[in-house]
């Protein structure tokens, strides 16, 4: 591979790649993000290739595998350019029809396009789909529309030109100033202004400084960073090199979790490509700045997403936090000044440097400019990855982008900020998605996990779920987190079993306050948040469990039995087939009945009923 020495080399690559692509009339951007891969997109891709051959389309249509395009719940998906037609729910069986219709017959295969559940209309053009309409993609730019495994493809979109501009035309201080002016805040959870952090790194004096990319994304249901790495690994590399240049670090690490093998694979390939082209380990663009980048793979501990634990882990030690201060910029990795940023933060950097702070501050709101990527999950129709301007009301995200809740259920709350965050209730659904606004409501932006919950969700059980996660992931170093989270979990467990004690709520509040106040690291300090937040908004649910031994949402098995409304039941026998304990009796086309003594409250029947005739109710105590 020829080395890149100047901007002409970049232009040449861009030109060549574009001319190569320009030979085709159509391009298929085929999503090979982790979500689509798990939906079996590899077989679909194979079938597409076969079809293209079969219909002699190989000279006309070029299929490109890209990273995640976002609408994961409808995968596998593909985007046909230049028409911008978006096909969803593809399978090896149906994709042949789509190819034939679109490319041979020249007709959009509407039935395989996105269908609006409310209007029942099919929306072929991606830009008209509500999921995409309100999004602003900066960190996700190119994700889903760029060939992830070719550095040429990234360069063709203007990639590494920003790096060239920074190295040849800007001083490190100018780069930092630009980032400062953009008011970019850390996207990993803390929300600390990146420019300020970089300034501290820049001002630190040392023979060696490090820049570290935190790709240890561990929040349940979060996959923003993963999508960025898998879709545009080179953008991340460019962002990290820019950061290294700004603070004067010549060495960088990407700390990425082992559970992301695809991301690891694509990123290491990208690093190899960048190295082969002289963008790593060699003086850049004739300057005397050179940068090297290595991947460090985490062994699966959530706490290693905490920056001091992450550094311990990179150094080869057990993943446990260090006391702060000293802060990493004072004494970080191997005792040297170190700046740690999250993947999404780095992914914003090339855009900011390219378009200037002004280009970035066009989005978002004062104090929190730009955009934020969220991973939409839970009981939501359009689960997937989205990027919206900061400050967008949550209602817009849930109802328009997310398409509302599955089954048209009522929205109850959203867990924002993962296990460190809190819940936003239906009453607050219009809250602007902004750092300070979310904190005021007892939640936090966090890394951008957004789990929507319907009225079928028990909030005590939700708190229990997150506490179970956190106590399992506690490193065990400090008493507050190691034992505190365990005891909080035990209290929640007994409440969900109907064995709660009268003072359990107070006990949780007390314990939560102490754990928050005394734990060593961010994991422990934020661990009680889901409890504190759910008590704040759903105290009545806690009380129902403790005092009435009743789970209002009917999710806590020990407190719930299901019953069938004989008027509504059509006798389809479906529930009977699903019941694991043979508690349901009834003949075909006759109303069924559930024996409450045999019912274990699992809810299998509830999920299977086509006519909504089954309801949870309080389990009577004997």
């Amino acid at each position: 591979m020829a080395k890149i020495n100047d901007k002409y080399d970049l232009s040449k690559i861009k030109y060549n790649y574009r001319s190569e692509m320009g030979r085709y009339e159509h391009h298929i951007y085929f999503c090979a993000g982790a979500g689509c891969i798990s939906c079996g997109c590899a077989d679909v891709a194979k079938t597409i290739q076969e079809c293209l051959g079969e219909y002699n389309l190989n000279s006309k249509v070029k299929m490109i595998e890209t990273g995640c395009i976002g609408l994961c719940s409808l995968g596998p998906v593909m985007l046909v350019m230049p028409e911008r037609t978006f096909y969803v729910g593809l399978s090896p069986k149906n994709v042949g029809k789509v190819i034939k219709s679109h490319f041979v017959d020249g007709k959009i295969a509407e039935n395989y396009c996105y269908q609006d559940l409310k209007t029942k209309e099919y929306i072929p053009c991606i830009d008209d789909i509500p999921f995409y309409k309100d999004q602003v993609r900066i960190a996700l730019q190119g994700c889903g529309t760029t060939e992830f495994d070719k550095i040429e493809a990234y360069i063709a979109t203007g990639g590494y030109a920003t790096l060239h501009k920074a190295i040849t035309e800007m001083t490190p201080q100018q780069v930092i100033d630009e980032v400062k002016e953009s008011v970019l805040r850390g996207r990993g959870g803390g929300g600390f202004p990146t420019g300020v952090k970089w300034q501290a790194g820049h001002d630190a004096v040392a023979d060696q400084k490090y820049i570290v990319c935190n790709a240890d994304e561990g929040d349940p249901g979060a996959f923003m960073d993963r999508s960025i790495i898998e879709g545009t690994p080179h953008k991340l590399i460019e962002g990290i090199i820019l950061g290294g240049y700004a603070i004067g670090a010549t060495k960088g690490y990407v700390y990425i979790r082992a559970e992301y093998p695809i991301a690891v694979n694509r990123l290491s390939k990208a690093i190899d490509q960048a190295r082969a082209m002289g963008l790593l380990d060699e003086p850049l663009f004739g300057s005397d700045f050179q940068f090297s980048l290595e991947i460090r793979i985490g062994a699966g501990a959530f706490v290693c997403g905490e920056e001091t634990s992450l550094m311990e882990s990179i150094e080869g030690h057990r993943g446990e936090p260090r006391q702060k201060p000293p802060l990493p910029f004072q004494a970080g990795l191997f005792g040297k000044p170190t700046i740690i940023n999250n993947v999404e933060t780095f992914a914003n950097i090339p855009y900011i440097i390219k378009h200037g702070a002004g280009g970035y501050t066009r989005f978002g709101r004062v104090g929190a400019h730009g955009t934020k990527v969220f991973a939409l999950a839970g009981d939501i129709v359009n689960a997937g990855i989205i990027e919206v301007p900061i400050g967008m009301p949550m209602r817009n995200i849930i109802e328009n982008i997310g398409g509302g809740l599955i089954g048209g259920k009522e929205f109850k709350a959203a867990q924002v900020g993962g296990p460190s965050g809190g819940c936003i209730t239906a009453a607050d659904i219009d809250v602007p998605m902004d750092y300070s606004e979310l904190i005021a409501k007892g939640a936090m932006m966090g890394s951008g996990g957004l789990i929507a919950m319907s009225t079928d969700t028990c909030m005590v059980d939700t708190a229990r779920f997150f506490m179970d996660f956190v106590q399992d992931e506690s490193c065990g170093k400090c008493v507050a987190c190691r034992i505190g989270t365990k005891r909080m979990l035990e209290i929640l467990q007994r409440i969900t079993k109907g064995e709660g004690k009268k003072d359990d709520i107070d006990r949780l509040l007390e314990l939560g306050a102490v754990v928050k106040d005394t734990a060593m690291c961010g994991l422990g300090q934020t661990a009680p948040n889901p409890i504190l937040s759910t008590i704040r908004y759903f105290r009545d649910e806690y009380e129902a469990h403790i005092l009435d031994h009743r789970c209002p949402a009917g999710r806590c098995q020990a407190l719930t039995v299901f019953e069938i409304d004989p008027q509504a039941c059509i006798g389809c026998t479906r529930c009977k087939k699903h019941c694991p304990t043979l508690a349901i009796t009834g003949e075909l086309k006759h109303a069924h009945d559930i024996d409450p003594l045999l019912c274990i409250g699992c809810g299998a029947c509830y999920g299977s009923c086509p006519v909504d005739a089954i309801h949870p109710t309080k389990r009577e105590e004997n």
């Binding site: 106590q471 490193c475 065990g476 008493v479 034992i483």
Partner: protein, 604 residues
């Protein structure tokens, strides 16, 4: 030293820059409770008990970890702090084994004392207990994880101070335990059994494997139970009875032992003098051989410290030829008692029961080694630590502080000052030099008061060069030779010196290693202290005082030693010595993979 100003509880305070909030408070006479923190040793922030409120900070600050800053405003006992401390304590005891009344550390337990201080009266969070409640008994050390509060003092000591790295945190979260890897038992690992972990454990989680019952039983039996005490015990035993560190209690200790019913109270110091004769001779033989261009392994390294010996066997199994073949003094004494003294009394060796009172936990493993037997009998039958002796004296109802001072029994009770200093780092080397130098040159060691000043003190590694001039005619080829010596205490220092030996770059001819930092004075069996550096210094000074108070200061001048050689062993390094006073070593390897010998004791 530049000072900074801060206010603590509204009181203006000054503290040197770079100190922690905890140090600042304590330095200004303000008490802040703490648990995991151990001055000069361990600063880790796990227990959070020392949290304080810092005005302007979001969370409470662990005062042992956070550096004091100019202008800080600190509250050490605000309601928020008191509440947090109490809750943290309640969490800590929520999974703690609360069989306090039958715990070895009852009323000597830092966790217990803290609960009293915080006036905790309930246990509201009791719940699941970690599944790993195991008791693991090795010859030297007993681990009871149900009493562990995961303060990690032992981890710091084992990894950073001793570089043995056996104890570490395993698993995570609530299931975290401090243990050797993969569930191994301590007796199966490369543990050196130095017991430094035991000495810093705040609770009963780590203790020495007690031999008290063995000794009580022997005292009740028909056997002649003979006790010997190591030089470092007499300067520390007083601490068990509230005396200051470094108070010499030789006479009372002897009196107490006699009251307890021991048949004879001998002094391990006698055997230390014997060791010098044997080890000095061994060094001279190796040295002479090298001077003659022959093959002999130098540097020769002392072998009195069984923790060090095991460390060497595990970590440097190919370097064992460097170790002196001498047994440690107390095992020499055991051999002499059973195979010389018994005969003198007309008793059978098997009717003798030898108890060693040692500052050491490793000696308990040492006596279980197959090599420490002669004619099918162990040289020593039981090892009591200084702490155990204190317990036994108390259990015997003896009012220690009211005892008269008594003398050791003879003939194995008389010793020189050279033997006393065996208890501190640099002592064995100095004692050896006092004799060896005189043998080669015919003159006294040319240092004021016979102290080889470069190797006196508590630094990790000390070295000196002794030039041999105007030597005796039979040592003419040593004329002008510069003997390079090194002294280290603590296994980290030993590792450094051994890495040189392994690499073939060691410049030394003679090295003294003691396994514990400071030497036996702060061995794993000594009374616990919160002021390790100060205590170490006080005990060391006491040792030197004891030495200087002796009429005889050189081992070869001990008349009982001379008589012993005439009466029994012939000459140092002779046939009898080799049979009874010397030993050999076992290659063990880092994972004990080179041996089948283990030191696990199954609990019955």
């Amino acid at each position: 030293m530049s000072m900074i100003n801060l206010t603590i509880n509204g009181i203006p305070c000054q503290t040197p820059k770079g100190t922690t909030i905890l140090q600042a408070a304590r330095g200004n006479g303000i008490h802040v409770p703490s648990l995991c923190h151990l001055k000069d040793v361990h600063k880790y922030g796990t227990c959070r008990i020392c949290v304080v409120e810092q005005v302007g900070a979001k969370n409470l600050q662990a005062s042992c970890m956070v550096e004091a800053q100019e202008g800080m405003e600190i509250y050490t006992h605000s309601e928020r702090v008191r509440k947090a401390r109490k809750t943290l304590y309640q969490l800590m005891i929520s999974d703690h084994n609360k069989n306090c009344l039958s715990c070895l550390r009852n009323q000597d337990c830092e966790l217990q004392a803290l609960g009293r201080e915080l006036a905790v009266q309930d246990d509201p969070y009791a719940g699941d207990e970690p599944y790993h409640g195991l008791v693991d008994v090795s010859e030297s050390i007993t681990r009871d994880t149900t009493k562990c509060i995961l303060c990690r003092r032992c981890v710091t000591v084992c990894n950073e101070i001793q570089t043995v790295s056996v104890l570490n945190a395993q698993n995570r979260g609530f299931d975290t335990k401090i243990a050797p890897v993969t569930g191994m038992k301590l007796g199966d690992t490369n543990c050196s059994f130095c017991g430094q972990c035991v000495a810093v454990c705040p609770t009963g989680a780590l203790s020495s494997t007690v031999h008290e019952d063995r000794v009580w039983k022997a005292l009740e039996s028909h056997k002649h139970v003979i006790v010997q005490t190591a030089p470092a015990v007499r300067v520390a035993i007083g601490e068990c009875f509230g005396l200051e560190p470094g108070t010499i209690q030789t006479g009372r200790m002897v009196a107490a032992l006699r009251q307890m019913g021991f048949y004879r109270v001998f002094d391990t110091n006698w055997a230390a003098d014997l060791t010098i004769m044997e080890e000095g001779t061994e060094f001279l033989q190796r040295f002479a051989s090298v001077l003659d261009g022959g093959e002999a392994t130098l540097p020769m390294i002392t072998s009195c410290s069984p923790g060090w010996v095991k460390f060497c066997e595990n970590h440097f199994p190919e370097q064992l030829d460097h170790l002196s073949t001498c047994k440690s003094p107390h095992t020499m004494m055991g051999a002499v008692i059973k195979h010389y003294y018994a005969k003198k009394l007309g008793l059978k060796p098997e009717d003798m029961f030898v108890v060693s009172v040692m500052p050491c936990t490793a000696k308990k493993t040492e006596i279980a080694r197959a090599e420490m037997m002669n004619d099918g009998l162990p040289n020593v039958d039981a090892v009591l630590t200084t702490r155990e002796l204190g317990d036994m004296i108390r259990a015997h109802g003896i009012n220690f502080l009211n005892l008269p001072e008594e003398e050791f029994d003879n003939p194995l009770g008389q010793s020189t000052g050279a033997a006393d200093i065996f208890g501190t780092t640099g002592g064995v080397m100095e004692a050896a030099l006092r004799t060896v130098y005189e043998i080669i040159t015919g003159r006294e060691l040319p240092f004021p008061n016979l102290h080889v000043s470069p190797i006196v003190g508590l630094e990790e590694i000390k070295e000196a060069t002794i030039k041999l001039e105007n030597v005796k005619p039979e040592w003419s080829n040593a004329e002008g030779f510069e003997v390079k010596i090194a002294v280290t205490s603590g296994l980290r220092g030993a590792r450094k010196l051994m890495e040189q030996v392994e690499a073939g770059t060691s410049p030394y001819h003679f090295i003294e290693v003691m396994g514990c930092p400071g030497g036996c004075i702060t061995g794993g069996g000594q009374p616990r202290t919160f002021h390790i550096n100060e205590t170490r210094k006080a005990r060391m000074e006491a040792i030197y005082r004891e030495d200087e108070g002796k009429p005889l200061r050189k081992s070869h001048e001990n008349p009982d030693i001379k008589a012993f050689y005439e009466d029994c062993a012939g000459e140092p390094g002779g046939h009898w010595s080799h049979e009874y006073l010397h030993t050999h070593y076992t290659k063990r390897g880092l994972f004990n993979e080179m041996t089948d010998e283990h030191f696990v004791v199954e609990k019955d």
